[in-house]
Symmetry: C2
Subunit: 121 residues, 2 copies
């Protein structure tokens, strides 16, 4: 009897695992959750705002990540007709559906700190 994949032969498991893969592909990279979490809190933010809020990111990465997120319709980019152009980024309704994931991630991060703290005392 040959050894075969157990989980990936179960349709329910396969669907679940491949859904995880799909989601993470869209949200891949170091910054996506961070940017989305910021935009979820911040309503409309400009490029420079994000550069300040998303600690550690540089213009190149920010620009690239924003393009990725826009392509996937998670955020909306609006160019305002001002003297030196103004660009606003905001999360879309679709993007807001990620809210529950991001909430869970934030909650867990806080719980993790507490767990670390308990362990060290």
């Amino acid at each position: 009897m040959k050894k075969e994949s157990i989980l990936n032969n179960n349709p329910i498991c396969k669907t679940r695992i491949s859904a995880i893969k799909d989601t993470m592909e869209i949200l891949s990279g170091k910054w996506k959750f961070h940017i989305l979490g910021t935009l979820l809190l911040g309503d409309k933010l400009r490029f420079m705002d994000l550069l300040r809020e998303v600690e550690g990111i540089g213009t190149k990465m920010l620009s690239k990540e924003l393009q990725d997120l826009e392509m996937n319709l998670l955020i909306k980019r609006t160019v305002l007709n001002t003297k030196p152009v103004t660009v606003e980024y905001e999360i879309t309704e679709f993007g807001k559906t990620l809210g529950s994931i991001i909430d869970e991630i934030a909650k867990w991060g806080i719980a993790y700190k507490n767990a670390l703290y308990k362990r060290s005392e």
Copy 2:
């Protein structure tokens, strides 16, 4: 008046955003969610099982990711005293607390597929 960070000056926002950062640092990389999602479904799995279940991963990455996860106490590695050694990996109780995040990610991935489908018809 100098422009300053809005969100990161708000303690509540700052806590949240830095919690997101913390979580994602622990779960960084292409494979962590995938591996954890598999171990959540699969109880005890051996190295070769994981290599089969986590489609696309190679031995080097699997080995490295498993070490990362073990270091963060999210999974447990058990060496069994057999002829050619057997090693079992399983998720820890602490690791199971990531379940809600992973559930949300899986749910969203399925919903995303549906959204794509609707948009294209």
